[in-house]
């Protein structure tokens, strides 16, 4: 058996989160999420947490495990010896109940960066293909692997301190389209702001926390360079388009 110290917050009952201990079987093939499911099914049905695919694809089960933002479906009980293991909601977010956090703000930010292919001028017929070379695909593929698990936001101290900060995943998502050869959009006014890339102080923990190796820190720093060059170009009389 291993002890899970689970953060509980029940609106109307708890003024602030409290920890509750649960003993769950220590099995080599059990992830922390399996331990939480065991609690929910056999020990305490009132425990609330998000989950879906259990295979690191949906990004639903992000929580803070022993102080680190992790996908609980890919974090195994045996990684923590004899325990105990402390499970808390993702840091930096308002807690709705127990391990469930309010993600509306991040969802709005993801939509804010226009995460779709923007075309200008004449549209090709719907039957036409926008072909890409393998190199063109490689240019943005890394940033398209994001599963919106929000571990990067939880790891980012800037987001915790400045909630208006656009944040790592949203900027990486914007770069996913900026670097796509089929996209003709201009996201400069969205990204080159104090709440955008210039709000990032480059702590780099977003990249360390990312379970999909998206490297949002790289995306942000690369756009800083793009934004700086664009700003300089806009200052030049012959540089304005």
């Amino acid at each position: 058996m291993i002890t899970l110290q689970v953060s509980r917050y029940r609106p109307g009952q708890d003024a602030e989160p409290v920890f509750q201990d649960y003993e769950v079987p220590l099995r080599s093939d059990w992830a922390v999420l399996d331990g939480l499911a065991h609690i929910k099914d056999h020990l305490d049905g009132t425990l609330s947490f998000r989950w879906s695919c259990r295979m690191g694809i949906c990004g639903s089960c992000g929580m803070t495990v022993n102080g680190e933002p992790r996908l609980t479906c890919g974090t195994f009980l045996t990684d923590y010896g004899e325990g105990p293991i402390r499970v808390e909601p993702l840091r930096g977010f308002p807690v709705i109940r127990d391990l469930v956090v309010d993600i509306d703000d991040v969802l709005a930010k993801l939509a804010h960066v226009k995460p779709w292919l923007i075309r200008e001028g004449e549209e090709l017929p719907l039957t036409a293909e926008y072909t890409q070379t393998p190199a063109q695909l490689e240019a943005y593929k890394q940033y398209s692997m994001c599963i919106n698990c929000m571990l990067c936001y939880s790891a980012c101290p800037v987001y915790a301190l400045e909630p208006d900060f656009l944040g790592p995943a949203a900027i990486a998502l914007a770069q996913r389209y900026n670097l796509d050869s089929r996209d003709q959009g201009d996201r400069f006014d969205l990204l080159a702001t104090d709440e955008g890339v210039w709000g990032c102080t480059f702590v780099g923990e977003c990249t360390s926390a990312c379970p999909k190796h998206v490297d949002p820190a790289e995306a942000i720093q690369r756009y800083k360079l793009t934004a700086a060059l664009t700003s300089v170009r806009n200052l030049l009389p012959w540089g304005r388009s």
Binding site: P94, V95, P157, T201, V203, E205, T207
Partner: protein, 130 residues
């Protein structure tokens, strides 16, 4: 739509001490003060050198005082820490491709460190040759 009632945790004043990466980040930011001091010291040195022998002698007396020496020893360590950690981050901001091959991060960081050492060696040679 009605907002859900929720608990909004406060950020602890010592958030930066919670993780090593945060601590290194804060230290890197704090060392900027010493980088600024080093730049100001260099400007003062250049101004004194250009102003004539008397001004330069006065600056040397100032630079030789124990507290300035102590401050500059700390500033040297701080600026070295700042430079190393800053250059280690360079690969995150630079994606360099050579004929389609993406240059690995350690080569970019290594190139930056090598250039830094080369420039430092050149400056040391120019300053110390006399």
């Amino acid at each position: 739509m009605t907002a859900l009632p929720s608990y909004r945790p406060r950020v602890h004043p010592l958030w930066w001490a919670r993780r090593r990466a945060y601590l290194v980040f804060v230290l890197r930011e704090l060392t900027s003060v010493f980088v600024a001091w080093s730049a100001a010291y260099l400007v003062l040195l250049a101004r004194a050198a250009l102003a004539g022998d008397a001004e330069y002698a006065e600056f040397r007396a100032f630079a030789g005082s124990p507290w300035v020496v102590a401050l500059n020893v700390v500033a040297l360590a701080a600026t070295a820490f700042h430079s190393v950690t800053f250059l280690n981050l360079a690969p995150r901001a630079m994606v360099v491709r050579l004929d389609g091959w993406r240059v690995p991060g350690f080569l970019i960081a290594g190139g930056n460190h090598s250039a830094w050492l080369a420039v430092s060696a050149l400056v040391a040679y120019l300053v110390l040759r006399s």
